[in-house]
């Protein structure tokens, strides 16, 4: 068979013309649909407003008609637009809030049909459930059950919308169940989305954190990290609970990092010991542990911490030096930092600390290019020489001895 290339190009051209026609058709259809939708929204808003304000004078079928049409996705769009319009009206806003829950049985009836529709429409359905607050707290609530089912969808948007509805209903059971379902389907929803989503939970977040912890072993490390991040945002009551994880050697490294970050926000004395040890003693491939521990130590103002951080500042790993310097700036006063810079033998550590202190405005360069404490940081003149203070800190053996020294250090300025 001989293929004539000119015929092929004619075919392609015809298809392109069809595409162009489709573009024009789409453009026209879109404009027409937009106008039609706007008109429908206005009409429906008028009818619904009358129903809300004068229920006794309005024909009973108005409510029925609105609800009957909702099988069609376009009518759901019109309903959303109607709600937008009526929410702007102070006369109807409260009445509307009372009317929206009456949609619940209608939405429950729509579930079967929706589940057969495209994932985009399912996702929109979940969005409207959130928007109209239709998800119930009870264990057998059909809408909640549907939302939990939707969390197993491949579409991230559908999962997000479904989770949004569950966060809003405020049921801890639903949330735990949803994450179990996602875990079972091996779905790794973005950690950031999980943490931020959980923070939008409308119920008791502390209790939600407890519930997640109680079911801890059922979740993969992917979700455990997100949950610890969530717990970090909502509660400081997990210090004792999480502390044992810090020393578990077989624990997923990301989970350990999350726990370290928790102890950065909520200092816990036993955790401080572990963190200090992590900064001082680590294998080359474990630098991330040391770096995160160095950052977490900013919340542990003890002499031992300063000593550990001085080791960290002189580490051969950039990130450990970087974080240890930041923490040192948090824990010590500019004069001490100046002395540390003068006395540090490691040039990498010295450069890092110097840059950080200059950048934070704690130190400044004088006309000769010499480092000195920034003028706005020199409130008082030191009572002892800075060398003595630093020596006192470095030589101190226990935190009980060191704390007064640190205080003196602080008062010196």
């Amino acid at each position: 068979m001989v293929i004539r290339i000119d015929y092929l190009i004619y075919v392609y051209m015809t298809l392109c013309l069809c595409m162009l026609a489709y573009n024009l058709f789409y453009l026209g259809k879109n404009k027409w649909m937009q106008r039609r939708t706007e008109k429908q929204i206005q009409n429906q808003a008028r009818r619904l407003q009358r129903l809300l304000l004068f229920p006794e004078k309005t024909a009973a079928n108005v409510d029925e008609k609105i609800k009957k049409d909702l099988k069609n996705t376009h009518h759901l769009v019109v309903l959303e637009g109607t709600v937008d319009v009526l929410e702007q009206n102070p006369l109807t806003v409260k009445l509307l809030q009372a009317w929206l829950p009456t949609l619940k049985p209608v939405f429950a009836e729509l579930i079967d049909g929706t589940m057969k529709k495209s994932v985009m429409e399912r996702s929109y359905f979940a969005y409207l459930v959130t928007r109209f607050r239709l998800c119930g707290q009870s264990r057998n609530d059909p809408i909640a059950t549907a939302m939990i089912q939707l969390t197993a969808q491949a579409s991230i948007y559908c999962r997000e919308n479904a989770l949004g509805a569950l966060y809003q209903c405020g049921s801890i059971d639903h949330i735990v169940k949803a994450y179990r379902v996602m875990g079972r389907h091996e779905i790794e929803h973005s950690r950031k989305l999980v943490t931020d989503g959980l923070l939008e939970f409308h119920g008791d977040r502390e209790q939600l954190a407890q519930a997640l912890w109680q079911n801890w072993d059922e979740f993969t490390p992917h979700y455990q990290v997100a949950f610890i991040d969530f717990i970090r945002m909502v509660s400081g009551n997990f210090r004792e609970t999480l502390f044992p994880l810090l020393s578990q050697t077989e624990l997923d490294r990301e989970v350990t990092f999350a726990v370290m970050r928790y102890f950065r926000k909520y200092p816990y004395r036993p955790a401080g010991t572990v963190l200090r040890q992590t900064v001082i003693d680590w294998e080359k491939q474990d630098w991330e542990y040391a770096a995160i521990a160095a950052a977490s130590l900013e919340s542990y103002p003890e002499m031992e911490t300063v000593k550990a951080l001085l080791v960290g500042v002189q580490s051969d790993n950039w990130y450990v030096r970087d974080n240890a310097s930041d923490s040192l700036l948090q824990l010590t006063k500019p004069l001490a930092i100046l002395e540390m810079i003068r006395q540090l033998k490691d040039s990498y550590g010295r450069d890092m600390l110097r840059y950080k202190a200059l950048s934070a405005g704690l130190l400044q360069l004088d006309e000769k290019g010499e480092l000195r404490v920034a003028e706005n940081r020199m409130a008082k003149s030191p009572r002892g020489s800075s060398n003595e203070i630093l020596s006192a800190v470095i030589e101190a053996d226990s935190s009980e001895e060191a704390l007064p020294a640190l205080q003196k250090w602080g008062n010196a300025e």
Binding site: D6, L8, I9, C16, L20, N30, M120, S123, Y124, Y355
Partner: protein, 476 residues
Amino acid sequence: MIEFVKTFLFCVDVFFVLYLFGYSTFLFLSVIVGSVDLYQKRRDDELKNNLKRKFFIPISILVPAHNEETTIVDTVCTLLRQDYPLFEIVVIDDGSTDETAQRMIDYFQMRKIERPIRRQLRCKPETAIYEAKSNKIQLTLILKENGGKGDTLNMGINVSRFPYFICMDADSMLQKDSLFEIAKPVLENDKVVACGGQVRISNGIEMVDGEVTKYTLPKRIIVAMQVLEYDRSFLASRIFMDHFNGNLIISGAFGLFQKKMVILAGGYDPSTMGEDMELVVKLHVFCRANHLDYSIRYAPDAICWTQGPGNLLDLMKQRRRWHIGLFESLTRYRYAIGKKEYGLMGTISFLYFWLYELMSPYIEVFGLFTIVLSYFVNLINVPFMLLFFAVYAGFGCLLTVIAFFTQIHTRHIRLTFLDVVRTILLSGFELVGLRFILMLVRMNALIGYRRKKNVWGDLKRYTHNRRETQEGGSEG
């Protein structure tokens, strides 16, 4: 002899039939897939299939600059208007001989500082570092010895603090949602190691507070034709190749990268002219060779507005650089072609770029030569040839027009009637005029390219049509 010529011309005929068939099919599929994708996206937005909340990943924006005194402050100002919670801006001045650095220092009141730099990637040494904070956003300016764009970007990566970086040109502007849009694919899938944004020509737009308020086709014909060309390219091939993780180009004007992966792959190659394409191909090859699960994406909603060359000479310079870059990237990684482990990227993408981008000027000139030869040996049907050319040109114009209008009306942009007419006329002129000139430029691009490898393609810059309404903003 005549038999030999006949046989030769027959073979040429067969080759061109296959060549054009392949090209037409690719273009056709690309435009169809691109259009369908954009319509789908619009429907997604209508039905709230998007991420509502403002999630973010920390991003370092790297702006390499070389003699960019006209635009650098404007560019940084648009970056500062980004509706994004956590990012820093690093401007790297690659040995400018104009006032680029001084404009930055004066405008943002930057102060000199000694900052340690972690040299994970090799680059020319710095001569000074300045820092400032603007609206709580860390702004860094590095002055370094001249080393070319790749070298400059490597310095930027070394200095950056965040796990993801964006490289962009110093003559470009971002819309205020661009960072959020380009970060979206990473939020949706953490296997994404790089993501390209859409680059559009800024010459005809007005931007107020990071939003495009006015869109017209640029008055200069040379720029207007580039608008059509960019829209066709970004709508068609990139969206199509995105479907099989086969994009080989993330424009140097706007792309997001995972820093860790880029460093592992070796960073930008300072010795190449097409450092943007080289890096993307390198990432593909690195990830596939090491069996890493990865994805390189294209985000059509992340839009960057860049200046197109305003005259033919500048355009020729730019295209010459691009063609050399293409040549270097494709020849360096030629072993990826057709290998099973490189998947569709190694077959469709590589073959497309080899045949229809790199070799096309030579093939087209060869085609013209055989037409002349055929004419002399009286083996050509002139009316059919003309009809064929007309049909082919019509096909090309149609695709360009479709791509342009799809971009326009899926993005809610309004055009004047005059612009619509100009678009249709220019689509023809672009095909037979500009394309022909650029074909000659690309054909000659490789002649003597080794002598001018690490030079910046200095183009004439224009001030952006940008305004800020809030107090403290500057007018450009």
